[in-house]
């Protein structure tokens, strides 16, 4: 009987839907319920790829690689799974994760068009987007950028709070576009930094909030060499870099069609791929729900963690990092020499002038979750990180051009292609991780133990644990003192200190 009811309800479900027939025989379709946002996101990507931005460069690639190589050593890799164009996909992931992207490349490569399309699929009108673009130029003042006090109020007001500020509309838009940001003068860049970093602007004791938003900045050169040098802190606030790609001459016929139709891609965006603010928020929530597996996080930490290490920076354990050199006005290039026993062909620390901040970890996690969501997965895969990290670290890592690593002819070209360089570093790190993993697992076990808390741990157990930590430190000290070993040692020393402090407290409490 119960199964009859179940089958009957399934039958009703199958014939029931959004189509209903009216008395006049017309069939009415109601709006689709429970729109699949993931599907809508993918449709938006493919529409832009197929209709709006002509790019045959599918450089975010998945699957098995087969290789074609000529006698001169040039190679092309073919993948047997889905591939995507970074020039379109990364701005989209930026839009859906409310991050900040810098689009770089020569003039006329579609940087601004790409940013405009992102704003339009976020529901802004074409005119609205064009009006709200902040265009960088050498005379751009803070008032030009943020707004100005109302002149009438300036005359009448007896105190600052009576002056109303007319804020520029772009500040509160969901998508903010700043064209040629490297042409903005330094003083105005500082005001922009506050806006990007803090999410609000202040003028005459009045404040405006930026709200949840995505930022798209464009620059004509990736060296930051516009009219003004871009301040470091502003660069650090940029989460990801998108490199514009050159036009491929085989697609000239598409340009002919575009001229003949006398339309631009922005005029043709289908309404079905335009997202409401609520949908954008819902997608963001769904992205945050994607799982970041422990293994991926471990490997990400293994890679990023060792970049900051410099054995030559200090004799003191805690300060063996590149920040020590930087604060002293030295470069890695000046100390990374034969006095350091580490093999420059193997260890990654030699290749960079700097490490990365915690912000880079956050960005990597955000974007990896978004990419996994876009691909229809519920958990991040290692390959997602591999594909994204070159774009996340593009402007954040500076190569040490004098490293012996780059002196090898096959590595020299990596100095002018950061995407290839960072990918190569990642691949090297992953190979090394396999060897180092058994030791790292032991460190993780000790960390898990202390992370459970010390409540109820008696003196004897604490002593036992501290001995285990000391023993593992001893084992690690017998290894080559490299970046990954240093990272683990820092962690073990911290665990040791926490146990030591706890035991001290226990003995004082009696």
């Amino acid at each position: 009987m119960a199964s009859d009811t179940k089958a009957a309800s399934r039958l009703l479900d199958l014939l029931r839907g959004r189509a209903t027939v009216k008395k006049d025989l017309t069939v009415h379709l109601s709006d689709r319920d429970g729109t699949n946002l993931h599907d809508k996101m993918r449709q938006a990507y493919w529409w832009i790829t197929n209709n709006a931005i002509i790019t045959p460069y599918y450089d975010i690639e998945y699957g098995v690689r087969s290789q074609h190589r000529n006698v001169a050593g040039d190679e092309i890799l073919l993948h047997d799974s889905m591939s995507y164009s970074s020039f379109i996909l990364i701005p989209m992931l930026t839009l859906f994760t409310c991050r900040r992207a810098l689009l770089i490349g020569g003039p006329g490569r579609g940087k601004t068009t790409s940013a405009i399309l992102m704003a339009m699929i976020a529901g802004m009108s074409k005119d609205g987007v064009r009006r709200s673009i902040l265009r960088g130029h050498p005379q751009l003042t803070v008032s030009d950028m943020l707004g100005a006090p109302l002149p009438s109020d300036m005359l009448k007001a007896e105190e600052a709070s009576q002056i109303k500020v007319s804020w520029r509309q772009w500040i509160t838009e969901r998508v903010k576009i700043i064209d040629e940001y490297n042409r903005i003068p330094t003083k105005t860049q500082s005001a922009l930094l506050s806006l990007m970093a803090e999410g609000f602007a202040e003028m005459l004791d009045q404040y405006v909030q930026t709200g949840r938003s995505s930022w798209f900045l464009t620059a004509n050169e990736d060296s930051g060499g516009g009219t003004f040098a871009v301040i470091e802190a502003l660069k650090d606030r940029i989460d990801v870099v998108v490199r514009a790609v050159p036009f491929n001459s085989n697609f000239a016929d598409a340009l002919v069609k575009r001229i003949e139709a006398d339309t631009s891609p922005e005029d043709l965006i289908p309404t079905e791929i335009i997202f409401t603010a609520e949908e954008l928020d819902a997608i963001y929530d769904e992205i945050l729900d994607v799982t970041m597996p422990r293994e991926c996080l471990d490997r990400l930490g293994y890679f990023l963690g060792q970049l900051d290490f410099c054995r030559q920076a200090s004799r003191r354990f805690e300060f063996m990092n590149k920040d020590t050199l930087r604060l002293a006005g030295h470069s890695v290039a000046s100390v990374c020499n034969e006095q350091c026993p580490l093999d420059k062909r193997v260890h990654l620390c030699t290749q960079t002038e700097n490490g990365v901040s915690a912000r880079s970890y956050l960005t990597a996690i955000h974007f990896a979750k978004a990419l996994a969501y876009f691909r229809g997965n519920r958990a991040v895969e290692l390959e997602d990180l591999r594909q994204l990290l070159p774009w996340i670290l593009h402007e954040k890592l500076l190569p040490n051009g004098r490293s012996a690593y780059f002196e090898k002819p096959e590595n020299a070209s990596l100095l002018h292609d950061r995407v290839a360089w960072i990918s190569t570093m990642w691949d090297t790190a992953m190979k090394q991780f396999e060897k180092h993993e058994p030791l790292r697992k032991k460190v993780v076990t000790l960390r898990d133990e202390i992370d459970k808390g010390l409540t109820g741990v008696d003196f004897k157990t604490g002593q036992k644990r501290i001995n285990k930590v000391s023993a593992l430190i001893g084992t690690l000290m017998k290894q080559e003192f490299s970046g990954p070993v240093y990272e683990d040692l820092v962690q073990l020393k911290a665990i040791h200190s926490r146990y030591q402090n706890y035991l001290q407290w226990l003995s004082q409490e009696g």
Partner: protein, 271 residues
């Protein structure tokens, strides 16, 4: 086709291309020139014709329709909108015509949103010459066959072995792990894996008499049952070929196993 219908076709095309990212103008022209023209020529009521065209435009925009002659996948939408509705509506009473348009849309959209294997079973059972006037009872019959647990329970004694050649549709397929998707539907994973460690492909099989291959499906879903089931040792006594099993799965009504050195799936169905 007179000017009025041509104008409606143009309007729907313009609306469709500005609304849907998947709008396929070629597919729309195929609808207009083929089934829509024949339906218009049949003098069906104006409201029905308008609804047919409007729904067809929505189906083109959503990517529900495929050119009948292409290698595209078979779908209920394609069959109903391009074949069954234009051929059968004119012979039905006017109120029934509107009703069937709505029913076909709803069933088609539900099957599009459901698992692939479900649509394949429907299409196989509807056959080539589905009578749309019988759509409700036919759907009920098929639904019951799929969703209702069968009447007879499977025992080692009443189970009859059916051999299903899994290499029939995909010559490289090596049957591996089995998962039940419904009481009588299983998914069989290819033993060959990609770099990501996941099976290269999965095929679904409807364990009816005789079993039907339902083609590849995107992912497994469902729960994997425990292997090393003593049930199989008893069945093996009846059929010595059931040795060197690679993986086996069973519920109260059906059982299936794959073999270490064979492209066949053994399906056990009560006699």
């Amino acid at each position: 086709m007179n000017e009025e219908w041509v104008a409606l076709g143009r309007r729907l095309s313009a609306e469709g291309s500005s609304r849907f990212p998947r709008w396929d103008e070629q597919m729309w022209q195929l609808v207009i020139e083929g089934p829509a023209s024949s339906l218009i020529a049949s003098n069906a009521p104006r409201a029905v014709l308008e609804s047919y065209l409007t729904l067809a435009a929505e189906a083109v925009g959503r990517g529900y329709l495929y050119p009948a002659a292409s290698m595209g996948r078979e779908s209920f939408f394609t069959r109903s909108w391009l074949e069954w509705l234009p051929a059968q509506l004119p012979s039905l009473a006017a109120p029934r015509q509107g009703e069937l348009l709505a029913l076909c849309w709803n069933l088609g959209e539900n099957l599009e949103r459901g698992p692939r294997w479900l649509e394949r079973i429907f299409l196989r059972l509807f056959g080539q010459d589905l009578s749309l006037d019988d759509l409700e009872p036919t759907t009920e019959r098929v639904s019951r066959l799929i969703f209702e647990p069968p009447v007879t329970r499977l025992t080692p004694e009443n189970g009859r072995v059916h051999w299903v050649h899994m290499g029939g549709e995909d010559a490289l397929f090596l049957p591996g792990r089995i998962i039940f998707l419904a009481p009588t539907v299983v998914s069989v994973a290819d033993r060959q894996t990609g770099l990501d460690g996941n099976p290269r492909t999965r095929h679904s099989v409807w364990l009816c008499d005789p079993p039907l291959l339902l083609g590849p499906i995107p992912d497994g879903g469902g729960d994997e049952s425990d292997s090393d089931d003593p049930f199989w040792d008893q069945v093996q006594k009846k059929d010595r070929k059931l040795t060197t099993r690679y993986h086996e799965a069973r519920n109260d009504f059906r059982a299936a196993c794959t073999f270490s050195t064979s492209q066949f799936l053994a399906a056990l169905i009560p006699e």
